[in-house]
């Protein structure tokens, strides 16, 4: 297809229409076409959550250039906020008007809580740069996780390593997202309902980040990333702009965390280990930092590849050797690790970088050659 055609208004319209139809029927194709289709829809739901997370982290790392290795902490804060307000675990201690708040309000609360934690992290690390910042954010993430793991006494706040159970599903637009719904002759199961819910929020977040990119704030972030001193000299308030990046990235994480908790029905500290932060960072970097389509692509690849490998490896082994020679779980992580290394070696700028970044890399090549 001609690339130029896609840039015309009509081309764009057609692209979006096709994309919209694909996204709308995707879960039905999956459930219809595969034996274990529901688990595939589930995997796609998680991929959408990861897209939201990666876009949030992209604000911090990709736009503002602040390397954050503890991003999953905000996801955790959002998830626990949702879990605490929407499960029997803590409700006895809370005033009744805090029980099961309306869905949109709940998301605002989760975003706000995560944003506050973002400021909490951002304020002390304003002066830090590069790797120091990375390690402090990493430490912050671990601290949050260790507290979640241990705050079951003296007051049982988080129920420790067992986590919180029986979290209410989302009730929104008169629907209970935990129960199947019959509509147009189709049975919308929980995974389907959540697919559309998460997809909707995904689109909102994509829209917001797209609009942010070229806004005054977005340009200030890029200036900050490229050269902090020069940005300051140009009249950008470094402190506020940095804090805004942390808080905004964090609140995106908080929203996806809340959706995660409601979807899963269960949260425990195990879901928020450092490896998760690293995975989200990999999505951003592999896809192409600062470039939204790239980041989305990265999130899809990183979250779906292990799922596909899970389904492929066992039959393949049995076909080749007649039995399972190695543990599939190990093998799929191994392949995943190797893929990460090779992608970075071949395309250090990411799979789908912005034109500007690709050009920067190109410049570098010429510099090296000269």
């Amino acid at each position: 297809m001609n690339i130029d055609f896609l840039q015309t208004p009509r081309g764009k319209l057609i692209t979006f229409a096709v994309l919209g139809i694909v996204l709308a029927i995707l879960p039905w194709v999956l459930t219809g076409g595969f034996e274990n289709g529901k688990s595939w829809v589930r995997a796609v739901d998680f991929a959408l959550l990861y897209i939201m997370l990666a876009l949030g982290l992209n604000i911090v790392v990709g736009y503002a250039g602040l390397l954050d290795l503890g991003y999953i902490a905000f996801y955790a804060v959002g998830a626990y906020t949702y879990a605490l307000l929407n499960s029997p675990h803590l409700q006895a201690m809370l005033p009744y008007w805090l029980h099961n708040p309306p869905f949109l309000l709940m998301l605002l609360i989760a975003a706000f809580a995560a944003g506050v934690f973002g400021l909490l992290l951002g304020t002390p690390v304003l002066k830090l740069r590069g790797d120091y910042l990375a390690i402090v954010t990493l430490g912050f993430g671990e601290i949050i996780r260790i507290f979640m793991n241990n705050l079951d006494r003296p007051v049982n706040l988080t129920n420790g390593p067992q986590g919180i159970n029986n979290i209410e599903r989302v009730h929104f637009l008169g629907l209970d997202f935990g129960r199947p719904v019959e509509w147009l002759g189709l049975t919308f199961d929980m995974v389907h309902l959540y697919y559309y819910l998460i997809l909707a929020f995904c689109i909102v977040i994509i829209f917001v980040t797209l609009r942010l990119q070229h806004s005054r704030i977005g340009r200030a972030w890029v200036a900050l990333r490229e050269d902090e001193i020069a940005a300051n000299a140009m009249g950008i308030n470094i402190r506020n702009v940095k804090l805004l990046a942390f808080a905004m990235g964090a609140s995106f994480g908080g929203v996806s965390g809340a959706l995660f908790a409601s979807f899963q029905g269960f949260v425990s500290p195990e879901s928020f280990v450092l490896m998760e932060s690293i995975m989200v960072l990999c999505m951003v970097v592999l896809g192409g930092m600062g470039h939204i389509p790239g980041v989305i692509l990265g999130a899809i690849i990183v979250s779906i590849t292990p799922e596909i490998l899970r389904d492929v490896i066992n039959p393949l082994q049995e076909g080749l050797f007649g039995k399972r020679v190695v543990d599939p779980e190990n093998l799929r992580m191994l392949i995943f690790g190797l893929a990460m290394i090779s992608i970075m070696l071949v395309r250090p700028e990411g799979l789908w970088p912005s034109k500007r970044r690709a050009r920067e890399f190109h410049e570098h090549d010429e510099e090296a050659r000269a």
């Binding site: 002390p124 601290i143 241990n150």
Partner: protein
């Protein structure tokens, strides 16, 4: 038993191990400004190879005193780790030397995953016990217990650090390393073969890491495919605490971190009236780190680096 002295001893032993590993991080960082995320995995591989080697010798019925068996294991593990360190640099870091800093970070994380999974495939998912070949005699030290092993760990760690300092300060290779860390391009112009220097840095750091891995395994009587992650994280914290890129800083940071962790987790329960217990042990590393970086952003002994335009 005197708890304070006991915790002090434990802290010093663990701290000296942290310091050995931290040296590996800090050497690489000093020269390439790169966090070698896979260093923890080298530590783990060192421990695993040694255990396998000792078990093999025991199975063959070799009659040797425990320390010699351990030495044989080490002599096997050190070259393996060195080779691994060399390969890692060649495969994952060298091609990206001029790439932006996040790219090698991702390959490092990828490598770390690959090595962990390989170790799981080779050695299984369970804890591997350290063969009980070492004398378990306990000495009394001012009311605290200390074993021969702990004394040996402490002495060996400091001998190795001394050796490293000699290497860096007094030998030709050391001078080349210092020159490269100051300015690789100029060092290259002055006739330093930068590629060799960087390779050697990885090799030396990996050797220290392998020894440290054996120390960890012997000290806790076990090894595991995931052990490298947490210990690497703490050692890296120690390196940052001391001022990353600074060798003396890594040693000071390592020892300090060991002491803080050990004393902190020992007394935290008493201090907070039972509100927080020793299960918060892993928090100390990070809280201290954050506090140091806020008040002294370049670490305890790091130099203030001028901002690059």
């Amino acid at each position: 038993m005197d708890i304070f002295i006991q915790q002090l001893i434990n802290g010093l032993i663990v701290g000296s191990i942290y310091a050995l590993i931290a040296l590996g991080y800090t050497m690489v960082y000093g020269i390439m400004q790169l966090i070698n995320f896979a260093h923890g995995e080298i530590v783990m591989i060192g421990a695993m190879v040694t255990i396998t080697c000792i078990n093999l010798l025991l199975d063959l019925g070799v009659q040797l005193p425990g320390p010699l068996l351990l030495l044989a294991g080490l002599l096997m593990a050190i070259p393996v780790s060195m080779l691994l360190g060399f390969t890692i640099e060649r495969v994952a870091y060298r091609p990206l030397r001029r790439a932006p800093r996040l790219a090698p970070l991702i390959t490092a994380i990828g490598l770390s995953i690959v090595l962990q999974q390989l170790a799981m495939l080779i050695w299984g998912r369970n804890y591997r016990p350290f063969p009980s070949i070492l004398p378990t005699k306990v000495h009394d030290f001012y009311g605290a217990a200390i074993t021969d092993l702990q004394i040996a760990i402490f002495i060996l760690a400091f001998l190795l650090m001394g050796g490293l300092f000699f290497l860096i300060e007094r030998t030709k290779l050391g001078r080349a390393m210092r020159a490269t860390s100051q300015n690789p391009d100029v060092a290259g112009l002055m006739g330093v073969n930068i590629n060799t220097v960087i390779s050697m840095t990885f090799v030396i750091g990996s050797a220290l890491g392998a020894v440290a891995g054996v120390m960890v395994a012997a000290n806790y009587d076990q090894a595991h495919a995931y052990m490298g992650f947490m210990i690497g994280l703490k050692a890296f914290t120690a390196a940052v605490l001391g001022g990353i890129g600074n060798l003396a800083g890594a040693v000071v940071g390592g020892i300090l971190l060991g002491l803080i962790e050990s004393l902190g987790s020992g007394y935290l329960g008493d201090l907070t009236g039972g509100f927080l217990g020793s299960n918060y042990k892993d928090i100390f590393a990070f809280v201290v780190l954050i506090a140091v970086l806020i008040f002294r952003p370049s670490g305890l002994m790091g130099e203030r680096v001028a901002e690059r335009a």
